[in-house]
């Protein structure tokens, strides 16, 4: 979840800021409207406080979201599972509802950091941090999730695959708050798979993929595929999804799909992996993830 090595004094937060702990969403939005670009929202703090220690960001105002009731919790409604933006990753990981209904999200959340990090970090924070490698983001994109946003200009709903703009950047305006994440019901004949390659299991992804596949008789009826750490944002490969509809997952089809994924991604070389490695791994992971998602779909259909 962190982007740079420990090269500064991380003993303290060197800059002073004014601290706000609003108890309602409206109050938080008022503060955001007043302070705009000088303010940052604090959720779990596992990314933000590191950036503040390293002086990557130096907000003059910090708005803590933890006192706001109604921003946490996991609830199943008719239109899907609603997860409050300030819900801790650990609560999502331990939720029996998520484990049963959204095993893909369970797996992806478990892949984030350590127990300590997951006790602190929130789902909304992981998304708004907008790391290209965010594990929860690719799982939620593959699950067709949308986010509910509230701001000074009103409410809006944004499909998650249109939420990310670039590394650390989302479509949110400075006065908007991510309120909840909604995952629509998943079909009975659908299966999903999450795979992450990291140097150690604690690490940020070098490459990651989440795939959800709905099978017709044997052919793919529908699918969603999202990859992490191979582009400036988590990316969904819609052209690959369109190509796969109505096709069986034969070796030939999988080869073609791998080539299409390779053409769609824009990996870079950084401290974690080379662009070449990422490209090769993304091709292999695509084949594996689709195969395993289809197997799970068959198993669930029974």
């Amino acid at each position: 979840m962190r982007m740079s090595i420990n090269r500064q004094n991380t003993h303290i937060i060197p800059t002073r800021f004014e601290y706000h702990a609003p108890t309602s969403l409206d109050e938080a939005i008022e503060l955001l409207t007043e302070y705009g670009g000088d303010a940052r929202l604090l959720a779990g703090g596992t990314d933000l406080l590191v950036k503040m220690k390293q002086r990557v960001v130096e907000p003059r105002h910090l708005i803590n979201l933890k006192m706001i009731t109604g921003l946490t919790g996991i609830e199943e409604k008719a239109d899907g599972i609603h997860i409050g933006a300030a819900t801790k990753l650990r609560a999502i990981e331990r939720s029996p509802l998520i484990r049963e209904k959204l095993p893909l999200l369970h797996e992806a959340v478990r892949a984030i950091g350590s127990v300590q990090i997951r006790n602190m970090a929130t789902l909304g924070g992981n998304l708004c941090n907008a790391s290209p490698a965010a594990d929860s983001a690719i799982a939620l994109i593959a699950l067709d999730a949308r986010v509910q946003v509230k701001g000074a200009e009103g409410d809006r709903v944004i499909p998650l695959d249109g939420f990310f703009v670039g590394p650390g950047k989302t479509v949110l305006s400075p006065s908007e708050v991510l309120v909840e994440i909604v995952v629509p019901p998943q079909g009975r004949s659908s299966g999903a798979c999450f795979i992450k390659i990291g140097r150690t299991s604690l690490d940020l992804a070098m490459v990651s993929i989440a795939a959800a596949v709905t099978l017709g008789d044997e052919a793919v009826e529908d699918c969603r595929i999202a990859l992490g750490a191979v582009a400036p944002t988590p990316i969904r490969v819609r052209e690959v999804e369109a190509f796969l509809r109505g096709k069986r997952l034969t070796d030939e089809v999988l080869e073609e799909v791998a080539a299409m994924v390779s053409a769609a991604i824009r990996p870079i070389t950084d401290v974690r992996a080379t662009a070449e490695y990422r490209r090769t791994a993304a091709e292999m992971l695509t084949k594996d993830a689709l195969t395993r998602a289809a197997e799970e779909a068959r198993r669930r259909r029974g």
Binding site: N6, F17, G45, T46, V50
Partner: protein, 156 residues
């Protein structure tokens, strides 16, 4: 800002700047130096404390964010001369080399065993993933956690 934190069972009041980290409050103002500053960026687990019973990183927690909550540190475990069963188990298994990572490991182990009194080796390794030991004493640490679980079950 005025805040109140229950630290190792005792309510304490502080007047802190918002940018004060919980770790530095514990170490510099209360001299509870068992909790260590390791990496400062959430990767090593040496600063692990329990916040309302859950293991968190004191180096990435604002003191103001602990207002009204309970914080438990390594210093709160022993009763006088009598060590906590987890501390005993770390000694018995030689799970301590230089000792720098030990408080963090022990606090995380306390939380693990509270959640899961009989963890498998895999579950232990998964739960302790966020605590790094640079003497690489992991084999004995895992043994110590197993023994602590046995000791605790026997006590109950």
């Amino acid at each position: 800002m005025r805040i109140e934190i229950t630290i190792n069972g005792r309510k304490r009041q502080f007047d802190v700047e918002p940018n004060k980290l919980l770790l530095n409050l514990l170490r510099d103002e209360l001299y509870l130096t068992g909790t260590k500053y390791g990496c400062g960026i959430g990767e090593c687990g040496a600063c692990t404390v329990l916040l309302d019973g859950a293991p968190v990183l004191a180096c990435l927690t604002l003191a103001v964010d602990a207002d009204g909550r309970r914080v438990d540190t390594i210093e709160g475990l022993a009763e006088g001369e009598k060590l906590d069963p987890v501390q005993e188990a770390f000694l018995e298994e030689g799970a301590v080399q230089c000792g720098f990572c030990t408080p963090g490991f022990i606090m995380t182990t306390k939380a693990l065993l509270a959640e899961n009194p009989d963890p498998s080796e895999e579950e232990i390794r998964e739960y302790l993933k966020g605590n790094l030991c640079r003497c690489t004493g992991y084999v004995n640490i895992v043994k110590a956690v197993k023994r602590a679980a046995e000791n605790l079950r026997r006590v109950k």
